[in-house]
Symmetry: C2
């Protein structure tokens, strides 16, 4: 009953395949469009198979969000370790660009649906990501804590407003330039 010679009963690495396919569907269709059955079909597996690797749809989403935070962390560390002239500005730009180029993943990371109280894994991933952020931003969290929080808020808010198309670009205006300007305006 194999549809092809190369379709073994056991997939081999289903968990990873599910996550990868889910990421693609997520970016294309949004979180609401990511159904377990569609996902299973996309990977060529039955509808119940994902439950061998994820307790529930929410757990699958949580895993996606966790990898999102890891990628986010990686991007932040990468730009920080490149020793830019203005670290804060460079990281802010990276922050916003990450949000824009991973729109639905970014939204998922901060989705209220995954109330973090019930999902320690997600909370930990988020905290880890922001810890690296804090660490790079500076040990001056004691004296400059408020300024750091303000910068964080500004960058995060800018990401979301841009994501929602709330900030209108002017004719011939470049998104990246606008980001730089806003971040630069302290």
């Amino acid at each position: 009953m194999s549809t092809s010679l190369n379709s073994p009963y056991h997939h081999g690495n289903l968990r990873q395949a599910l996550l990868e396919a889910a990421l693609i569907i997520l970016e294309k269709e949004g979180e609401a469009g990511l159904g377990l059955r569609d996902l299973a079909r996309a990977v060529g597996v039955s509808a119940a198979a994902p439950y061998r690797h994820f307790d529930s749809r929410a757990a699958l989403l949580e895993a996606l969000a966790v990898t999102g935070f890891q990628r986010f962390s990686a991007a932040m560390e990468a730009v920080a370790s490149s020793n830019p002239a203005d670290p804060m500005a460079a990281m802010g730009k990276t922050y916003v660009l990450f949000a824009l180029s991973n729109a639905n993943l970014f939204r998922l990371m901060f989705s209220p649906q995954l109330k973090k109280d019930g999902r320690p894994g997600l909370r930990m991933a988020a905290d880890a990501a922001f810890d690296t952020l804090r660490h790079v931003v500076g040990g001056d969290m004691k004296t400059g804590r408020i300024k750091a929080l303000a910068a964080w808020a500004k960058v995060h808010g800018l990401s979301i407003l841009l994501l929602d198309g709330q900030i209108a670009l002017r004719a011939g205006e470049d998104t990246e330039a606008l980001i730089a300007e806003i971040i630069g305006s302290l």
Copy 2:
């Protein structure tokens, strides 16, 4: 206009009753917990009745979000017309406090599920709300546009980070004081 004691076949003003009950459920259970059937039952009406007033669940949510933006606008205008010493700071504080005291409604207003491209009503309500914001913030949108956008981003981001419990309060620290500090840090 008399709503009789015995339950009449026709509810009287179902649309309004649905919206009010929905708001309560939304704040208590979150958007995911707001099911059409539960809502109908809460109002004492059959499961299909809401469809006489809303095309779909999404339309119901849209209507909720629209009233959210209207309340938001009202709060903004109220504080602006009170002629505070520092209008920007006062409005920023109101912005964040509105988000905190209407958590799930605020989240719904900016929910990606209601992609605004397909919902002109919501887009219009949002634009109207932010127009009053822009109007009050100043006609200096020509010269100070970047600064205004930066302030908006900061306040919006602060709202969301606080909403998600992402910003940790220190021992004995007051939320409202922290908000004021962050907003004040230009």
